[in-house]
Symmetry: C2
Subunit: 322 residues, 2 copies
C-alpha cells in the first residue's frame, strides 16, 4: 500500500524544485531567448530558492543549425558562463541531452564545466543509447537523470523492463514524463508507485515532468510528490511546448519550506512573462486538450494554434481517425 510522504503543512527536505523554463520554453521559440532574459531568469531562480535550473540542451552544433536555433539548444560552456559565471550559488545547473543529437565525445569532464547535472531524454526504443550517455556523464562526474518519454504509449510490460534496466545504471533520478499530457492523477499515483519500486531499492530518486493538456500538470505534480517523487519539474507561468508545464509559482505557493520564495517569481513574470505572452503562444487550449485526451503527440495542436484554427470538431475528427 502506497503511503503519503509528509503532510500538507510539513517540510520535506528531499524535495527539489527543478526549473526547466529555458529548456522546455526553448521548444516554443527555438531557444531564441535573449541573454538578458536568461540572466534575469537565473537570478530569479537563485532568489526564489529553486534547486536546479535547466538552461537548455547540449545538442551538437554539427547536427543542428546555429542559424536556426538559439544558443540554449547547444549550451556551449562559454555561453553558459556568460550567464552564470562560476555559479558560486546553491542553484545547480542542468542541461538536457537528446539521444542521437547530443554526442558524448563533446561532453567535457565536470571539472571543466559549470554544469552540475546531465538529463538524458529518451524514448523506450533508445534505452541502450540512453544508458551509454548516462554512464558517460556519470563517469565524467555529473549528476544524471533519465526522462523516459511517451510512456503513455508503452506496450504491455515494456516499461517494467526499462525500469529494471535503468535501476542497474548509475543514474541518480528516474523521471515520470507525461509527454502527451494524457495522464490522470490516479495513473500518476500508480506510476509513482511503480517507479519508486524500482528506484528506491537501487538508491535512486523519482521525478515528475507533467504537461498541462488536461489542466492537470499541477495536480499530477502534487500527486506524484505526495506519494514520494522528489524532483519536481516546473516552468515560470508554465512556459513550455504546447499546453506547457506545471507553473513554478503554483508549486512554490504550495511548498511550506521557508527557503522558497514566490516574490522573485512575480517580479520575473511582471518584467518578462507579461510581454512574452503577447508574442508566444503556450498553455492549455482546446486542441491540446484533444491531443491529450486521445493520447497523441501535440504536433497537430501546435499547428492548429499557429494557424489560429478554431474548427475544433474537424480537428477532433482528424486526430481521432489518424
Amino acid at each position: 500500500m502506497l503511503e503519503k510522504k509528509g503532510t500538507i503543512l510539513s517540510v520535506r527536505e528531499d524535495l527539489k524544485v527543478f526549473d526547466c523554463t529555458i529548456r522546455d520554453g526553448g521548444l516554443v521559440n527555438n531557444f531564441h531567448f535573449s541573454d538578458e532574459f536568461v540572466k534575469a531568469h537565473y537570478e530569479m531562480c537563485i532568489k526564489a530558492g529553486v534547486d536546479y535550473m535547466e538552461i537548455g540542451k547540449n545538442v551538437s552544433p554539427t547536427l543542428m543549425s546555429e542559424a536556426e536555433y538559439g544558443p540554449w539548444n547547444f549550451c556551449k560552456e562559454e555561453d553558459i558562463r556568460r550567464i552564470v559565471g562560476e555559479n558560486n550559488t546553491n542553484l545547480k545547473i542542468a542541461v538536457m541531452s537528446d539521444i542521437g543529437r547530443s554526442l558524448k565525445e563533446e561532453l567535457r569532464p565536470k571539472s571543466e564545466s559549470v554544469v552540475d547535472m546531465i538529463r538524458i531524454a529518451t524514448y523506450i526504443h533508445q534505452i541502450p543509447a540512453a544508458i551509454e550517455l548516462i554512464e558517460d556523464a556519470h563517469a565524467k562526474g555529473y549528476e544524471t537523470t533519465v526522462n523516459i518519454m511517451a510512456i503513455s504509449k508503452s506496450f504491455d510490460d515494456e516499461l517494467n523492463q526499462v525500469l529494471e534496466l535503468l535501476a542497474k545504471t548509475p543514474v541518480d533520478v528516474i523521471y515520470i514524463a507525461d509527454s502527451f499530457g494524457s495522464f490522470y492523477p490516479e495513473q500518476i499515483r500508480d506510476l509513482t508507485e511503480k517507479y519508486l519500486s524500482f528506484a528506491e531499492k537501487s538508491g535512486k530518486k523519482v521525478g515528475i515532468h507533467a504537461h498541462n493538456n488536461l489542466q492537470l500538470a499541477y495536480a499530477n505534480t502534487l500527486e506524484a510528490m505526495i506519494y514520494g517523487a522528489s524532483f519536481l519539474d516546473v516552468t515560470v507561468s508554465g512556459l513550455g511546448r504546447g499546453a506547457g508545464n506545471c507553473p513554478l509559482e503554483l508549486l512554490l505557493g504550495f511548498l511550506k519550506n521557508p527557503k522558497y520564495n514566490q516574490m522573485p517569481v512575480f517580479e520575473f513574470i511582471e518584467n518578462h512573462i507579461v510581454e512574452l505572452e503577447k508574442k508566444l503562444d503556450w498553455g492549455y487550449s482546446i486542441p491540446y486538450m484533444i491531443t491529450g485526451q486521445l493520447n497523441e503527440h501535440p504536433r497537430a495542436a501546435m499547428k492548429a494554434r499557429d494557424e489560429g484554427d478554431t474548427k475544433y470538431r474537424e480537428f477532433y475528427k482528424n486526430i481521432h481517425m489518424e
Copy 2:
C-alpha cells in the same frame, strides 16, 4: 477507509453532469446573455447528454435592478419558457436561489413551472434561512440542492454542525463548494468523505462545485467524483466568475458513459465561446492564483484583471496584509 467508486474505464450511472454556464457565467457579465446564446447553450446541453442545466438565479425583481442585470438573474417563468418551451427532454432545468434575494413567496409550485430543481446557495451563518428555502421548494415539488459557500473559512467544527442540520432537511444534494478556489485534492478527498458521511445515512447525494484559481478545478472534480460525489458542476470552457470553473469539455472527455458526447460542446465553443473570449475575461491568471493561495474572495483579483494590473508583487502584498 474511503474507497474509490468505479474505475477509470467504468460507467457510473449515479453521475450527473451539471452545467452552470449561464448562472456562473452570468456573474461575469451581469447575466446579459442574448436569447440566441442561451438557446444554443440549451440545445448543446441536450445533444451532449448533460443531465442538468442551471439557467440562472431567481432573484426577486423587487430587490435587484432589471436595468442593470439581464433576465437570467431573475429567471421569470416566461423568460425560461421562451428558451426551453415545455422542455420535453431528458435535460432538467435548475435555478439558483440566493438567501435574502430570492423570496419564497415568489416561487410558484413545480406544477406551474418548467424548472425541475432549486439550488440554494448559502453562507454558514445563513443556514436557518437556507433551510426555510429548502423546505419551501421541496414542499412545492422541486428537487433541491444546498451549496454551502466559503467553507474554507469555516471555523473549527461548525461545518460538521451545518452538515448535521442539513442532513435532517429534505434536500436532495449537498454540495462541496470551493468558493475561493483554495482547496487541494487531498482536502477535497477529506471533504468528500465528511459530506458523504452525513449525506449517505439520510439518503442524499453529494455534489462538487470547483473553481480554477489553482488550476485544480478539474482535478478536484475528479477527486470528489472518484470518492463518491455524484453531482459534478461544470461550465463550457470554464466560463464563470474569476478563475472560472471545471470545463464541461474536459469532464465529458473523461466520462466513459456513451450517453455523453463532446462534439456538440465543440460546436458551441466554435460558434459562441471563441468570440466571447475576446470580450469577457475569465479563467486562471496570477491574481486569481494569489487570492486562491491566500484563501481570499476573488474580488480584488477581479478588480486587478479589469484594470489590466500586472503589478503582481504589490497585489500579493496588499492581499497578504488585508
